[in-house]
């Protein structure tokens, strides 16, 4: 048993950290916090990371990885989030592993090194207006026509569709079989005629998108792996996506702690406010535990064990800590927390307000908390599904 990183893991962490401290520009950080997704500065940063082979530490060396232990991907996501860099979750944890594990040799050769070199960005498009938690009910149809497929339908809540190079798309390829057995995955160029992307914005200003497909023709060799096996690929990849991170919580938490310390020094926090220290201690504890639960996912992957509920638990727990952290932060800010326009009265540069508004999103994305609990109960505890 060893709860600390190995020497190799520590070295990777140190390398990523010092790289980010040096290379994350104010412009890239601004793009990261804007909610608009990857802009030119973020992309330049990712390419630079790719050149240093920092982006896919666990992947095979032949595709630009380092073959390090599974926990290093959490090290990467934590460090990037902490240093205001855009962790490219979609391509590193959805499309990337999807192609690596299930793609054809040609697809591996085409995409993998371009992913690890930070050149290309994927958008994930699974959700539809009628297929949210019941994502297997998706209806966007791909009809085989010669050596192409013709796509018609709609996706929604796709957060990177407006700036991606490729869409990692789940479609229905067989309407006659049970819903889980008739799904396939395609890699689609977003500039293909017939695709329309329309913006949606969350209450925190994070951009999501609707994508409309109107007689979109896609080459048959863009089908990932086998036809009608898409559901297995989605579930496999979701276990990556759901590993989660609290790196983007640690930073605002540290800033909140510093803010409280300053107010205390200035005599603006008094003995009557002793609940603040206790609440900070509570959040610190839960952040710490969230990290352990997330690392546990890596541990199981390292032992080549079968992940059943652990990624769901990590994701669920992290979303709860997030909510608590920003509730506490807003309580500490009191009436100042509601001010939007910049002035001398705004503490912590109104950053907290935006994160507070964004917190509810995290108990919805990548499977709502109720779905995580279903998975924990049925796959983790063996309770009957019906």
């Amino acid at each position: 048993m060893d709860f600390e990183f190995t020497q190799e893991e520590k070295e990777y962490q140190k390398e990523v950290r010092s790289f980010l401290q040096r290379e994350v520009t104010a412009e890239a950080a601004h793009e990261h916090h804007s909610g608009e997704g990857l802009g030119p500065h973020s992309r330049a940063l990712l390419r630079k990371m790719g050149q240093q082979r920092l982006l896919a530490p666990t992947w095979p060396k032949q595709y630009g990885g380092r073959e390090l232990s599974p926990v290093t991907r959490f090290i990467l996501s934590e460090e990037m989030a902490y240093h205001d860099a855009p962790y490219p979750l979609t391509f590193l944890e959805v499309a990337g592993p999807g192609i690596l594990h299930f793609g054809t040799e040609e697809q591996k050769a085409t995409y993998l090194t371009r992913i690890t070199s930070g050149e290309i960005e994927f958008a994930t498009a699974y959700t539809e207006p009628g297929a949210g938690s019941d994502v297997a009910a998706l209806t966007l149809y791909a009809e085989a026509r010669g050596d192409t497929y013709v796509l018609n339908g709609q996706k929604t809540f796709s957060s990177h569709a407006h700036h991606c190079d490729f869409i990692w798309l789940a479609v229905r390829t067989d309407k006659t079989v049970p819903k889980h057995r008739g799904i396939s995955i395609f890699i689609v160029d977003p500039n293909t005629p017939g695709i329309t992307v329309r913006p949606l914005h969350t209450m925190a200003g994070v951009r999501a998108n609707e994508i409309f497909f109107d007689d979109v023709v896609v080459p048959a060799n863009n089908l990932v792996g086998e036809k009608n096996r898409g559901w297995d690929y989605m579930v496999g990849a979701l276990n990556y996506e759901r590993g989660g991170t609290v790196g983007d919580l640690q930073r605002p938490f540290d800033e909140l702690v510093e803010f409280v310390a300053e107010r205390r020094r200035a005599g603006k926090i008094t003995a009557e406010d002793d609940w603040i220290a206790e609440e900070l201690a509570r959040v610190a504890t839960e952040l710490h535990i969230a990290r352990l639960l997330i690392y546990k996912v890596a541990e199981i992957q390292e032992q080549k064990g079968n992940l059943t509920y652990e990624a769901s638990l990590g994701k669920l727990y992290a979303s709860q800590v997030r909510e608590r952290l920003f509730n506490v932060a807003m309580q500490i800010l009191g009436p100042y927390g509601q001010l939007c326009d910049w002035s001398k009265w705004i503490p912590l540069h109104a950053k907290i307000q935006k994160l507070f508004l964004d917190a509810p999103r995290w108990s919805i994305v990548a499977g709502a908390s109720e779905i995580q609990r279903n998975i924990m109960a049925i796959r983790g505890l063996g309770l009957p599904a019906k």
């Binding site: 190995t6 535990i289 352990l292 541990e299 019906k386």
Partner: protein
């Protein structure tokens, strides 16, 4: 990073699990609960023969030289059945501080007897305030020649009614801070002036009032340095909190297992109740509390084993597990419904244990305050 137990540690677990299952069936627990002392000297001897009391002691003191992790495993397995012996008091509250802070002479004098199951130990710390901090220590010890005279009343002393020795924390002076002037004494419970009254607790254990009336203790029986004893008490309390969390994690795991078993079996509306999402989500929330409790407890235990600083992790563990175990019980009861309320059912026993463990060595709020202090919030 490696979060699993070794093969050897799994073996320790297996032996502990079988022993607890075989030696403490329901009838035995009931007999002990209803008996005068709540203690079985026969089973205690068998535990000694397995080497449990000396598990973490060096070989020269009759020990097995294992680490705190192995101790954590034993405590977890005990917690799964029920902590129903003076093991915790003797090993965690008595043996460990002697090992950590005792002189060579004290170690030679006391540790082999503990390892052999010949001596039961405990800690007399808390007083009327019921708190586990230095300011709560009011009992005095005054110098008289080459001895000290102890006067005062200790409360909530576990197993004192069957103990041979106790570590007694008393004030030998006053300084700028409440931590100054505290001394830890090794006291033979047969000494003149020691009077012990056991009280039954809601978890069917015994906590004692121990009154010291002019009890004479020789200066050679001071543990550590006179007047500087609080550091060793604090170290002891951190380890005790972690040890208690390991025990609680075991109990919480068992409650989850019982609940899942029941949810699969029990049918209402022609379906197992475990197929209803309302019940499934209760179970998922229990799983979250059980897994998280185990991880934070074992991280703290591992840090102790590895000789790393652990004050922060210990406070985090007790702050978290105290609340989590209570939540696990509340949901476990909810899923069991009426049958889980009946006193013959096993569940109430865990409810009782969780309540007692929650306040042992400081509850969640106490440890969050400690943590805030330690992290400079």
């Amino acid at each position: 990073m490696h979060l699993n137990l070794t093969y050897q540690q799994e073996m320790v677990r297996e032996v502990a699990r079988d022993f607890m299952r075989d030696k403490f069936p329901k009838e035995v627990r009931k007999r002990l609960d209803e008996g005068e002392s709540g203690h079985s000297p026969e089973i205690w001897q068998e535990m000694a023969e397995l080497g449990w009391m000396g598990l973490v002691f060096p070989e020269e003191y009759g020990g097995a030289e294992m680490g705190f992790i192995e101790l954590a495993i034993l405590l977890e397995e005990m917690g799964k059945v029920r902590p129903v012996s003076p093991f915790f008091s003797t090993v965690v509250l008595g043996g460990l501080p002697i090992l950590d802070a005792g002189s060579d002479e004290q170690k030679r004098a006391y540790l082999p007897a503990i390892a052999a199951g010949e001596a039961i130990w405990t800690l007399a710390l808390a007083e009327e305030s019921g708190r586990y901090d230095a300011a709560a220590v009011a009992m005095t010890a005054t110098v008289d020649g080459d001895s000290y005279i102890l006067d005062g009343t200790k409360l909530f002393v576990p197993d004192a009614h069957i103990a041979d020795y106790l570590l007694c924390v008393a004030r030998t002076g006053n300084g700028a801070r409440p931590e100054d002037g505290i001394t830890v004494f090794i006291v033979d419970t047969k000494s003149d002036g020691v009077r012990c009254t056991p009280y039954r607790t809601l978890d069917n254990n015994r906590l004692c009032e121990v009154v010291f009336s002019r009890v004479r203790v020789h200066a050679a029986d001071v543990l550590g340095r006179a007047g500087e004893g609080w550091d060793l008490v604090q170290a002891l309390l951190d380890k005790a909190a972690v040890a208690k969390c390991c025990e609680m994690s075991g109990g919480a795991r068992r409650v989850l297992d019982m609940t899942i078993e029941y949810a699969k079996e029990r049918k209402q509306f022609n379906r197992p109740i475990g197929s209803f999402q309302a019940v499934q989500h209760h179970c998922a929330n229990m799983l979250s509390d059980v897994d998280s409790s185990w991880l934070i407890s074992y991280e703290a235990a591992w840090r102790i084993s590895a000789g790393l600083p652990h004050a922060v992790e210990a406070a985090m563990a007790k702050a978290w597990v105290s609340d989590a175990y209570r939540r696990v019980l509340a949901l476990g009861h909810q899923v069991h419904g009426g049958v889980g309320l009946i006193d013959e059912h096993d569940l109430p026993q865990y409810f009782r244990s969780a309540s007692a463990a929650e306040v042992a060595f400081g509850d969640a709020r106490f440890h969050r305050k400690q943590l805030a202090q330690r992290l400079g919030y």
